[in-house]
């Protein structure tokens, strides 16, 4: 009798723990277990807020020629402008408030990074799933192309494309998408293949479920965790890449400066000791990329059960 009592207690305990720990809740509690990751999420939320609401929270519109005065150019941080506004982070060569320029630059940088990330993810996911699901020749052909592209660094591909396409927001997004889709395709195919070989997919096939149902209801959910991780890290990479390309003068035009272009514009002043024009946009870029990378790292740790934590 004591045995059955014990078993009943154990069963009850198991049942209880199952109701409390839904997958989402467990994910959230695992994720926020790390203080660093929690802080990174908070920082990223602030950056996102700034990027979205830049036109409303900036001290000035740095691209409104009526507001900007060349007489205010190259003011060190803390100086006041002719109109009495304080340049918290100084002003650039054209007399723009650096803080406002950074807010607007964040908007452009994040916009380009996230946009290209989403498009590349979409294309990569479709191609990767197709390769894994259909296998055979389709798979071989797709993966040859992916491998070929991945053997060249993204920056080289983007440089070449932009040297053919020219400058512009749309063009840099195209270049970033082409430079990145293969990473997503490989990730999706890899994890989809692992899932595909599992028995439940075989069972679903035996039940004569449609291709679409198997792919979207069975394969996709299992492919998502690694895809989210790669997506996060790749977005950070895309932002960094865009900044680099803009710095090299092949990315965005001067009319839509991202953080990279702001840094590039300040380069010439740096040698004469006017550090703030390059330094602060760089710090903003760094904080953005680090916070996204930290979130991505924690996502990888939490979503990968194999990893000993």
């Amino acid at each position: 009798m004591s045995t059955t009592g014990e078993q009943a207690r154990q069963a009850a305990a198991i049942a209880q723990s199952a109701t409390v720990q839904t997958p989402l809740r467990r994910f959230l509690s695992d994720f926020f277990e790390s203080k660093v990751a929690t802080a990174a999420v908070a920082v990223f939320a602030i950056i996102l807020f700034i990027a979205i609401f830049a036109p409303w929270i900036s001290p000035q519109n740095p691209y409104d020629l009526m507001v900007v005065d060349v007489m205010d150019s190259r003011m060190p941080p803390g100086e006041k402008s002719l109109t009495g506004m304080t340049f918290v982070l100084g002003s650039d060569g054209a007399g723009r408030d650096m803080l406002s320029a950074i807010f607007y630059g964040l908007r452009t940088s994040l916009g380009v990074g996230v946009m290209s990330g989403i498009i590349a993810l979409g294309i990569g996911m479709a191609v990767g799933l197709a390769a894994a699901y259909f296998g055979g020749r389709t798979d071989t052909l797709i993966m040859r192309v992916v491998d070929l592209q991945l053997s060249f660094p993204a920056i080289l591909i983007a440089l070449i494309l932009l040297s053919i396409l020219g400058k512009g927001v749309d063009k840099i997004i195209i270049a970033l998408v082409i430079a990145q889709w293969a990473y997503y395709a490989r990730t999706v195919r890899g994890s989809a293949l692992v899932e595909r070989s599992k028995e439940y997919i075989e069972a679903a096939t035996c039940l004569a479920l449609s291709h679409r149902r198997i792919v979207f209801r069975h394969l996709l959910p299992n492919v998502l965790p690694p895809l989210i991780v790669v997506g996060t890290l790749q977005t950070a990479h895309a932002i960094s890449l865009e900044a680099t390309l803009s710095f090299l003068g092949v990315g965005l035009p001067q009319t839509e400066p991202s953080l990279g272009l702001l840094i590039s514009n300040g380069f010439e002043y740096m040698l004469s000791g006017k550090y703030w024009i390059s330094f602060f946009p760089g710090v903003a870029l760094l904080i953005t990329i680090v916070s996204i990378n930290l979130v991505g790292d924690q996502l990888r740790d939490v979503l990968n059960p194999r990893l000993e934590r």
């Binding site: 004591s2 045995t3 014990e6 078993q7």
Partner: protein, 352 residues
């Protein structure tokens, strides 16, 4: 509730019978190794895992002891504890390990290293994993010799060659130049055994060394192990979950369950007349002991999680003899000079 009355009582045949039921527990004996109340715990994020929680046994020169239990019962951790190679978060938190009269628990790392591989050697379970895949066999053998003796490479090589021949590896010169992946599983285990023998240790701990091998190779290795102990007087602890191996090889047996030694004694005595209900069940579930066509006996339930194990007998949830008493720590019962079991309700009849 008492079952003792209606069953034929097991009477130990040896002269030490008078000690039966004595209140004072005698300490484990042996001239090579004495482990007493060893506790090795793992401090994980989820809590303390008491992998080994009070194990005592002794072993003498030339003796073979079978250390038996299910996976996760703490057999391997006991072996690692003796060698002092428990990885963090594991730690020896209590008890004593005396090797040839010398206390090993708390011994400094340099002194411990001189014993490791030299006086006490270990053979691991999976021969595919114990040899470093990117180092040649000669490198791996010579370094084991030169870690303990100042000898020339040539002398170490000659010794390696000699031992390989001894464990039945033909054309050792060719083999020494090879990488592990060029060997079969059985061959690799022979190499691992050869490495254990290189420095003529006084104690070998073999952690399920034949589990991953074919039956024929298993038999050869068992035969050689037995021969070795007889010839050299090396004491051998043979960790296994396979009772038939123990029956054929060991002089003594120690059965572990959930980090405890639950029963130990002379191998024939324990196998013929198990006292602890766990040993009883274990012997009952060996297929060859059952009649053809009859369903096999099995022990109900699963090994309990060692994480936050409640006090009392860990086997009680699976035990058909358990009573409320079993929520308390079971006593160590001694029958004969060498026979002990931790149980409130031991069997005194042979297995059915």
């Amino acid at each position: 509730m008492s079952r003792d009355g209606r069953e034929t009582r097991y009477e130990p045949a040896d002269a030490c019978a008078s000690a039966a039921g004595a209140a004072a527990v005698t300490r484990p004996a042996g001239d090579t190794l004495i482990v007493e109340d060893l506790q090795t715990w793992f401090f994980t994020k989820a809590g303390v895992v008491k992998a080994v929680n009070g194990v005592s046994f002794g072993i003498s020169k030339g003796e073979v002891m079978g250390l038996v239990g299910e996976s996760g019962s703490g057999k391997s951790v006991t072996g690692f504890s003796v060698l002092g190679i428990v990885d963090p978060p594991g730690e020896i938190v209590g008890g004593s390990i005396r090797f040839q009269g010398r206390e090993l628990v708390g011994l400094d790392e340099i002194a411990m290293r001189q014993i490791r591989g030299s006086r006490i050697a270990m053979i691991f379970q999976d021969p595919m994993m114990t040899l470093n895949p990117v180092l040649r066999i000669d490198t791996q053998m010579i370094e084991a010799i030169r870690a303990h003796a100042r000898v020339s490479r040539a002398a170490a090589y000659a010794r390696a060659r000699e031992v390989l021949l001894k464990v039945g590896i033909a054309s050792p010169d060719e083999r020494l130049k090879a990488y592990p992946h060029q060997f079969s599983g059985g061959m690799r285990q022979r190499v691992a055994i050869a490495i254990a023998l290189l420095n003529e240790p006084d104690l070998i701990i073999a952690d399920e060394p034949t589990t991953a091998l074919d039956v024929t190779i298993q038999a050869q290795i068992l035969y050689e192990a037995q021969k070795l102990c007889r010839e050299t007087g090396t004491a051998l602890i043979w960790i296994t979950h396979d009772l038939t191996v123990v029956a054929g090889l060991a002089d003594r047996i120690c059965v572990m369950y959930a980090g405890r030694d639950v029963e130990q004694g002379d191998v024939d005595a324990v196998l013929d007349h198990p006292m602890h209900p766990y040993t009883f069940g274990l012997i009952g579930s060996v297929p060859s002991r059952n009649r053809r066509g009859r369903p096999l006996h099995q022990i109900p339930g699963m090994t309990p999680s060692l994480l936050n194990l409640p006090p009392g007998c860990a086997f009680r949830a699976r035990c058909d003899r358990a009573s409320d008493e079993c929520h308390r720590e079971p006593p160590v019962l001694e029958y004969g000079c060498d026979r002990r079991a931790r149980c409130f309700h031991p069997h005194f009849e042979g297995p059915s």
